[in-house]
């Protein structure tokens, strides 16, 4: 296949429909940026849930030797096997509890260390005489509630038990945070959805105009036996160029958001939450589910172009 004509046509087409292509690129750029932010917020919710638990979970820390809570429940030092059995039974018997898992000192320590590393605050875990050690880290139960509203019974039952150091109940705070994240996520996806629809219509218009401008060439190409692919190729390449520019701009905006928005601003000011990192950024770009912007952009321009050119350049 001789591609000289295709590339000449691509250049001409891009120049001829410059304003339409710019409109497609700008709409794609904004919509893909919003879609990318939606993906990042969803990743953030996952990251936060992984480390803090969700609004259905409460964390029951067990006593350690020299427990920092100075709770009377810890008067006998490190939690004993008997005490653990009582606590476990109390959790199992509660109507408010859906399930529970035990987290050993080692698991809890590792989890905290990973989190600290993620936000680059692992100094307390390292060095010759670290402040945080496995021995000092409490074993715990993660208790999953049936509903976030009903936890008073189990909390009051556990509070008085020997061997229970602290009960971390972050239902309200986490519920609000996750609520905000859900609104942000769906808000940006709905916004992205509308704009992507607008981009789709613009792509359709652009192809219609381009087909009109090239109708003589197309008619001659069909008559002399050019293949459908050859006739459609300039259209597909124009769509691909628009998609690539749109994706590149959106990737830039997301990178800026990750660098200045998340790492330089949010992560510094809101330290109790772990934040999305560059791995999550890569997911927003190249992920399969939900589809990253690198998939979304070309799909949104190439699929309608393929469908429409089949109509306009049908042999």
């Amino acid at each position: 296949m001789q591609l000289r004509y295709v590339f000449t046509e691509l250049r001409t087409g891009l120049r001829r429909n410059l304003s339409m292509h710019l409109a497609v690129i700008l709409t794609l750029f904004v919509s893909l940026s919003l879609a990318g932010i939606g993906i990042l917020v969803q990743r953030e919710a996952t990251v936060a849930r992984d480390s803090l638990g969700d609004e259905l979970k409460i964390l029951v820390n067990l006593c350690t030797d020299d427990d920092p809570s100075h709770s009377p429940n810890c008067a006998s030092g490190e939690v004993t096997a008997d005490q653990r059995q009582r606590i476990e039974k109390e959790i199992e018997d509660s109507d408010e509890v859906a399930s529970s898992t035990f987290q050993s000192k080692e698991e809890g320590y590792q989890r905290a260390y990973d989190q600290a590393k993620r936000s680059n605050t692992q100094a307390a875990f390292e060095g010759p005489d670290p402040v945080v050690t496995v021995e000092r880290w409490p074993a715990a139960y993660w208790v999953t509630l049936k509903t976030p509203e009903h936890a008073d019974g189990i909390i009051s039952a556990l509070e008085g038990l020997d061997g229970v150091s602290v009960i971390k109940d972050q239902r309200k705070a986490l519920g609000q945070i996750f609520g905000i994240m859900t609104v942000l996520k769906y808000g940006s996806w709905i916004g992205a959805g509308f704009l992507l629809f607008a981009a789709l219509l613009q792509v359709t218009n652009t192809i219609r105009l381009a087909a009109l401008a090239r109708r003589r060439e197309i008619a001659i190409m069909r008559l002399v036996g050019a293949s459908t692919l050859y006739i459609a190729l300039p259209f597909l390449l124009e769509a691909l160029v628009a998609a690539i520019v749109g994706v590149a701009l959106a990737a830039g905006v997301l990178a800026a958001f990750q660098h200045w928005g998340v790492e330089k601003a949010l992560a510094d000011h809101v330290e109790f939450l772990p934040w999305v990192d560059w791995g999550d950024y890569t997911q927003a770009l190249f992920g399969l589910f939900p589809p990253g912007i690198v998939l979304l952009g070309p799909a949104l321009t190439l699929i309608p172009t393929l469908l429409l050119t089949r109509k306009y350049v049908k042999v």
Partner: protein, 229 residues
């Protein structure tokens, strides 16, 4: 080369069919006039040969292939065997004469070397050897039609279809175009020409197929135009 077997073409909507049980045979190397009034079915017949249309019933064979059941992706290859010329020339106004002719080769993937060899040869054949750098609007009607014929013939098709090729030309220029079509026919290319130009049909005597209301009403090996309009 071209065979219609009981071909009927009916367009959507009421009314008689555009072609009604048409059977005809055109051999390799023949020169055939397709005559008839407007609406007699000439253009429909030509479009069926190009597989721009499919018959409602019957079969169309072109270059040994039954084309009404041909898969869509094979149609471009069929069209490379057919050159087409129109009354209104259909040249690309922003390309030179050479570029217009070369376009037909570029888009089917011919190499630059082939194009550089064949295009000047074809321009010489149509008598436009020295006008390759001209733009279409710098040429007369007859010259523009010669460019269109060069473009139709540059891929050396087996069949040349000409739809009213002299329709926009004065009689003297028309004679030049007919001589050129005769030269192309002499190379073995089958020529099918739809026309209203009775002067030309009577002057350059060839086989005449007359269509009327979608039916073949006359097929003479060496005929005249036959009716006046």
């Amino acid at each position: 080369m071209i065979r219609f077997e009981k071909v009927t073409k009916r367009y959507p909507g009421p009314g008689r069919p555009a072609l009604d049980q048409v059977t005809l045979d055109i051999d390799k190397g023949e020169f055939v006039y397709l005559v008839g009034t407007s609406g007699s079915g000439k253009s429909t017949a030509l479009r069926l040969v190009l597989r721009e249309l499919r018959p409602t019933t019957g079969r169309v064979h072109v270059a040994g292939k039954e084309i009404n059941r041909m898969a869509g992706w094979k149609v471009p290859r069929l069209r490379r065997e057919i050159g087409t010329v129109f009354q209104d020339f259909r040249l690309l106004p922003n390309k030179t004469v050479t570029e217009n002719v070369a376009f037909a080769q570029q888009v089917i993937g011919k190499s630059r070397r082939d194009i550089a060899k064949v295009v000047p040869e074809t321009l010489e054949l149509v008598g436009l050897k020295d006008k390759g750098d001209r733009m279409p609007d710098e040429l007369s009607g007859g010259e523009q039609q010669r460019v269109a014929i060069a473009r139709a013939f540059v891929n050396r098709p087996m069949i040349l279809i000409a739809d009213e090729p002299t329709g926009n030309l004065d009689p003297q220029t028309s004679v030049g175009i007919m001589n050129l079509l005769g030269d192309i026919n002499a190379t073995g290319t089958t020529v099918v020409m739809a026309t209203h130009d009775h002067g030309i049909v009577d002057q350059f005597t060839k086989r005449v197929i007359e269509l009327d209301h979608g039916k073949v009403v006359r097929d003479e090996a060496s005929g005249s135009y036959g009716f006046q309009h």
